[in-house]
Subunit: 333 residues, 2 copies
C-alpha cells in the first residue's frame, strides 16, 4: 500500500488506543474460527488470520462504542462478528473475481479450491450471526443483517455493471456503498447502538462510516490505476483487465470523444484488450484529469466523514477518527 509514514499515525493511534480491546477481539476470532468437526476449516481460517490485515472494521466498532462511553463487553463480540462478515466476503469475492493473490499471499481458492472458499465463507458468516446473538441486541442484529444484504446486492450489481460502459457515477456509488461502505457504516453505527448512544449520535456514526467507506473505496480504485504517481508499490491495471467500471474510467468515458469511446467500448465493453491498451487507458485518464477529479471526490467524501462527527461526544477517539478520514485519502496525495 506504500503508506506515507507520517500519515499512518491515525491508524496506529487508533490501534494503540484500543489495544486491550483488540487483544480480546483477536483471541475471540481465533477461538470462533475453529471447528469441532471439520478440520479443514481451521486450516483455511488460520491462513486468513495469519495474513493479518489492518483490522480496520473491528477497530471502527470498538472506537464507536468507546467514543460513546461504552464500558461493557459486547463490543468485542460485535467487532469479531464484523471481521467475520468481512472475511467471509473476501473469501467469496476471491472466488467471484478468480483472484490468485490477496495481501501478497496466495488466496484460499488457489491454495484449496473454490468449493472450500464458498463453504468456509458460509461458515464464517454463520459464526458472525452466532456472535451477534451473544450480544443479545436485536437492533445490532438488524443493522448487520441489513448491511449483509446490501453487501451482496452491491456485489451482484457490480457483476452486472462490469463491462457496461454506460455505468453512471450514481451506480458506481451504489456499488461502493455495497461492497465497502455498508460494513464501515454498520460497524460504526452498531458500535454506537451497543453503547446506548442517542439517535443523533447513532446517525452521526452511521454517516461517518458511510462517507469514510466511500472515500476508502474511491482511493482503492484510484490506486488500481497507479494513484496520482506512477511509482506506487502495487500492480496496476487489475480493474482494467477485469473490465470494472470504476470512478476514474467513468469520468474519462463521460469526457470521451467518439474515438476514445470506441476504445473503451472495445477494451472494457467487449474485453478485447491488446498490448499497450493499459498505457492508452492511463493516458486517456490523464488527458481528461479523471484521476484528479476522482481524487477530489475522495477528498470530498473524507471531509463529509469528518463533518459527520459533529454530534459525536467530545473524546480523544473523536479526533483520531477525524484524522483517520484524512489518512484514508493521504494514500493518494
Amino acid at each position: 500500500m506504500g503508506m506515507n509514514e507520517n500519515l499512518s499515525k491515525p491508524l496506529d493511534r487508533l490501534s494503540a488506543e484500543l489495544a486491550g480491546d483488540m487483544d480480546q477481539v483477536n483471541a475471540l476470532i481465533r477461538e470462533r474460527m475453529a471447528s469441532r468437526h471439520a478440520p479443514r476449516i481451521p486450516e483455511v481460517t488460520a491462513h486468513l488470520v495469519e495474513a493479518g490485515g489492518k483490522r480496520l472494521r473491528p477497530l471502527l466498532v470498538l472506537a464507536a462504542a468507546r467514543l460513546c462511553g461504552y464500558s461493557g463487553a459486547n463490543h468485542v463480540l460485535l467487532a469479531a462478528a464484523v471481521e467475520f462478515i468481512h472475511t467471509a466476503t473476501l473469501l467469496h469475492d476471491d472466488v467471484v473475481d478468480e483472484s490468485r493473490q490477496r495481501r501478497g499471499r496466495p488466496t484460499a481458492n488457489l491454495l484449496w479450491d473454490n468449493k472450500t472458499s464458498v463453504l468456509v465463507g458460509d461458515y464464517l458468516f454463520a459464526r458472525s450471526f452466532q456472535l451477534m446473538a451473544d450480544t443479545d441486541s436485536m437492533r445490532v442484529m438488524r443493522i448487520l443483517a441489513n448491511a449483509s444484504a446490501t453487501i451482496a446486492e452491491g456485489e451482484v450489481l457490480q457483476l452486472t455493471a462490469a463491462q457496461d460502459i454506460s455505468t453512471s457515477e450514481e451506480t458506481y456509488i451504489q456499488i461502493v456503498r455495497g461492497k465497502t461502505a455498508a460494513l464501515f457504516s454498520a460497524a460504526t453505527e452498531a458500535g454506537s447502538v451497543i453503547a446506548g448512544a442517542d439517535e443523533a449520535v447513532q446517525r452521526a456514526l452511521f454517516d461517518y462510516g458511510d462517507a469514510l467507506g466511500i472515500a476508502f473505496q474511491i482511493v482503492d480504485d484510484l490506486l488500481d490505476y497507479g494513484g496520482m504517481s506512477s511509482t506506487i508499490g502495487k500492480n496496476i491495471g487489475d480493474d482494467f483487465r477485469e473490465r470494472k467500471l470504476t470512478l476514474p474510467v467513468i469520468k474519462a468515458i463521460a469526457a470521451a470523444g467518439p474515438d476514445e469511446r470506441a476504445f473503451w467500448e472495445r477494451t472494457i465493453g467487449h474485453g478485447r484488450q491488446d498490448e499497450g491498451d493499459l498505457e492508452t487507458a492511463l493516458s486517456l485518464l490523464k488527458r481528461h484529469d479523471a484521476l484528479k477529479a476522482a481524487r477530489a471526490d475522495a477528498i470530498d467524501w473524507a471531509a463529509r466523514a469528518k463533518a459527520a462527527l459533529g454530534p459525536a461526544p467530545d473524546h480523544p477517539l473523536r479526533a483520531i477518527l477525524s484524522d483517520l478520514a484524512d489518512y484514508v485519502v493521504s494514500r493518494i496525495s
Copy 2:
C-alpha cells in the same frame, strides 16, 4: 422422485392443513426475494421460486408452531427465513457439486454463472437474517445461526470425507446432520420456541426434526443407487461419480474383502472409473445387503422421529407429522 401415490398423503395433508399460512409464506418469499438495486437478483430468485419444490422446511416450521398452539404471525416470517437459508445452501451446493440440473431444470450456476450463484446465495442468507430479526426473538435467531454454522461445517466435512474410503458411519451421520438434519431440527425447534412451548416440547420437536432429516437423507442416498428397485425415475450413480461416501457404500466397504476394497479404492478413492464400474458397485452393494441395511437404518430413524413426538401436544398435526416420518421412508419401500 416417483412418489407412491397412496403414501404421498401425509405431505398433502400437511400442505392442506397449513394452506392459509403457506399462502402468506409464499407471498412473503416473493416479496423479500426481490432487490431494489440489482435486477439480476429477482431474475435468479424467480427461477428458483418457479422451480417450486415441496417447501417441506417451511411446512415444518408452521406445523411445529401450530401444533404448539401458536396464534401469532411470526411463524410466517420464520418459515420464509428457513426457506431462504435452504435456497441459499442449494445455490452454493450446486456451485460446489458443479451440478447442472436440479428438480429437472438447469441450475442457476449453469444459466448464469458460479459468481451469480455465490452472491445471490449470500443475498438470500442475509435476507433470512433480516426476516428473523423481524420476529424479535433472539432464541430463534440463535437456533438458526447455530443451524447455519452446522450446515456449512457439514458441507466442508463432506468435501474432505469425499474420496476417503475409510469414512465411518459416525462421520456420515455427522455430515448428514449438517447437510440435512440441522435445518429440519432448527425448523421444528424454532417453530415450537416461537409458540412458547415448554422445554420438553422444544426438545421433542428438535429430536423429531433431527431424526426425520437423517431418515430423509439416508433415503436420498439410497435412491442415488436406485433405491430398492432398479427402475426408479431418477438418474442413478451421481454420488458414485462424485466419489461421495454415502451409507450404502460405507456399509459395503466395511464388508469388503481385499479385491473389493481395491475396487472401492480405485473408483472412489482415486476416481479412476471405467465403463461397467457403476454396475460392479451396484452388484457389490447387493452382495453385502448394503442397500437393505441402509434402508433398515432409515426406517429406524423414522421410528425415532415418531417416538420423539411423545411429549408433543395432542393435536391433529401431531398425527400428520408422525405419518410424515413413515412417508419419508416409503420412497424406498
